[in-house]
């Protein structure tokens, strides 16, 4: 599964393949999210805009405790999806990890 951290403007965003184990964890986390009829926050233009990935044909964006597709919005109060994906961030992007972490706190 391809993950993209949507954060840059000029440079290409970090993209990487999630390993099978992490993908399984991500699927389990999705099962524990609950749908909610509320408006999720809009990502800003510049800066951290969340993680995007495609699960079973649906593209999701995990941002600030929400996991959103074009048709659904789910609450993720503990930022579990974002934290999981941040842990999987490739080592070459270590310098941006604290910045994303700060957005989750």
């Amino acid at each position: 599964m391809l993950i993209e951290l949507d954060i840059f403007s000029g440079r290409p965003n970090p993209r990487w393949q999630l390993d099978g184990r992490a993908e399984q964890t991500l699927r389990q986390l999705h099962q524990h999210l609950w749908q909610i009829r509320s408006h999720p926050p809009e990502p800003p233009g510049l800066g951290y805009r969340g993680f995007t990935y495609t699960l079973d044909g649906t593209t999701w964006r995990a941002y600030k405790g929400w996991v959103v597709s074009p048709n659904q919005a789910m609450m993720d109060r503990g930022h579990t999806v974002e934290r999981l994906l941040l842990e999987q961030l490739p080592a070459e992007y270590t310098e941006i990890r604290p910045r994303v972490l700060a957005e989750l706190e």
């Binding site: 954060i7 800003p44 510049l46 805009r49 310098e95």
Partner: protein, 306 residues
Amino acid sequence: MLRIQVDMFSGRPNPEWIITDTDATDQVLEWAARAKGAIARPGTGHLGLGFREIRVTRLGDDPYRKRGVPADFALASAAAQDFDTSGELALRVLETMPLDREVRLVAHELTPLTGDLKILISERLRRYLVERPPVSIFKFPPYNPLRTTIKDDRCGNCEYEVSQFNPGFWNVPAVQPHNNCYNYARNWRTDTFAQPGRAHGAMTNIMACNTVTAAAMADGLVKRCEVCLPISEWPRRLMALVIDPGTDYHWYRHQRGGFWGHKPGGTAARNVDNSGNLIVNPETCNRGGYTDFCGYFYAGKSVVIN
């Protein structure tokens, strides 16, 4: 470092190379400094088909004039006051063309620097110097109600074009993910997520004002008010560069109506900042982590990005 471009082709990329050797760079600038009448403003001589001029561009982010020589100039230009000397210098500069490429440029894919090409350039240049075509009269661009030429309020003698904010062009699935802030600010959809300097072998991985500025200037951008772009560079854009230190860069483009447009990465083009306010000043708008304001640049039609 100097970029040398032989302006002679119409469809193929022009032959070009980079002089990286300091002594060779100084030598070319010395020739130009000693023969002031031999250099001309690029794009002001013969603009028709065939050999037109040899363009010399300094790639360093240093002051505009060095020993009285501008950062960009043309040799063998029909607009040169001393055409004969200009042609002689052009022949000397042609001798710097490397056949084993030290710096590989995108243009070399379609126009490799071969011995045959060097002979062709030499023949065309010598014939051109004998024939001496007239200076082309540039026709003023057609009236376009969506694009206006304005005088730069920071330096009254410079002009550039502002166009209607048109996010619909960029915010469609076939375009939006493949074009970034640099594409938007230059107003050129390349679908390559263009990087400053990449088209000219001068890309940088160091995210700082001086490095990204140098990379963009290798693409042909010039600093605002230090150089005025001629009307032959129409349409000319005003761009602003900001940096998230050590992390990323970002560009804005001045639009018709007095505000600025931008396109953060693969997201939608917009004219508001991180607070949702219309951007009337890129120096003071909410730019998130892009805290360093680097400056303004003009980008004329000859600026090539990739």
